[in-house]
């Protein structure tokens, strides 16, 4: 490897770290006072908006995408994709998301599931 190669590798590492930490900071700061909301979009259009705390384990939402129905399932304050008409099933493989800022994307079906809003873990204090 040449010096330039190493520079490229270090550059990518630095960029990934900087981006990752700035996203993280952005997530930590960009909080609204509401309960986190699960948002399901198709082609950028909001189809469902569910407060995270109202998700029931096992409750499913059928979403009509461009290829067919994607099925989104609720858990205890978390959400995942359980069925998708896309060929690669990456979205299903992603498993649960639970924190604001996290997303599940199914590109072929154009379905995006994301969580927005105040993180419940960000508290000023805990009475215990």
């Amino acid at each position: 490897m040449t010096r330039a190669d190493k520079l490229v590798i270090v550059g990518v590492l630095v960029a990934a770290t900087l981006l990752g930490s700035s996203f993280w900071l952005w997530k930590a700061h960009n909080q609204i006072t509401d309960v986190p909301q699960v948002i399901i979009e198709v082609n950028g259009e909001i189809k469902e908006q569910i407060p995270l705390t109202e998700l029931k384990p096992g409750k499913q939402y059928q979403i009509q995408g461009v290829l067919g129905y994607s099925v989104v399932e609720g858990g205890e304050n978390k959400v995942r994709m359980v069925e998708s008409p896309c060929p690669d099933k990456i979205c299903v493989g992603m498993g649960w998301i639970e924190h604001p800022g996290e997303v599940i994307v199914c590109l072929p079906n154009r379905v995006v599931v994301r969580i927005i809003g105040k993180s419940n873990t960000k508290l000023d204090g805990i009475s215990q």
């Binding site: 490897m1 190669d5 490229v8 990456i90 154009r110």
Partner: protein, 194 residues
């Protein structure tokens, strides 16, 4: 453009590159997704783009890249689907960046470095197109992961490309001698480095 024989040889080699790229493109689409991230792919077809870049002028490279995406998608049955747009974006994005890297970094940056830059560009352009298609900028949340992911895949593809190039010396001895010379220098340099 040289003799008739040279022209025929060039056409043959370009065709071989397109054929190889098409096969790699299809193979790649059958590989299971690496990690649970959209856009996290090995980028096998980038090997062909790099080989083309090392031996032929940009116009020829674009022919190879365009044809392999078209044929690969046709064979894979993904023509004009989301996957098609994504792989086009990735292929074009990485080709542009690798072209520039080769132009500006001649003799300085090796196959591995170029390949990593190509992998980063591949993922980045796919992400941009994906954001555009889904109208959701939230997926840039994945960018840091994809950048990190580009390191091992880019490295691996770069090494593969170098091995293939060494195995096919005649491939690079016909056209654009200047370009070829630089590549020779580069590999020499690398031998010392490692």
């Amino acid at each position: 453009m040289g003799t008739r024989e040279e022209q025929t040889r060039r056409l043959l080699y370009l065709s071989l590159l397109v054929a190889g790229g098409t096969v790699l493109h299809v193979i790649e689409s059958y590989l299971p997704a690496l990690g649970a991230l959209p856009g996290a792919k090995l980028g096998l077809a980038n090997i062909v783009t790099m080989l083309a870049l090392m031996a032929y002028p940009p116009a020829d490279v674009w022919k190879v890249v365009g044809l392999r995406v078209f044929l690969g998608s046709l064979l894979g049955g993904t023509l004009l689907t989301t996957t098609f747009f994504l792989s086009s974006a990735g292929a074009v994005g990485s080709a542009i960046v690798m072209m520039l890297a080769l132009k500006w970094g001649k003799g300085v940056i090796s196959t591995v470095g170029i390949s990593i830059l190509g992998a980063v560009a591949h993922n980045l352009s796919q992400l941009i197109v994906a954001a555009f298609l889904t109208h959701s900028w939230g997926i840039f949340f994945y960018l840091p992961y994809l950048l990190l992911f580009a390191l091992p895949t880019g490295y691996f593809i770069g090494i593969l490309t170098r091995l293939i190039r060494r195995a096919l010396p005649s491939f690079f001895s016909v056209e654009s001698a200047g370009n070829d010379k630089n590549q020779q220098d580069l590999d020499h340099q690398c031998g010392i480095c490692q």
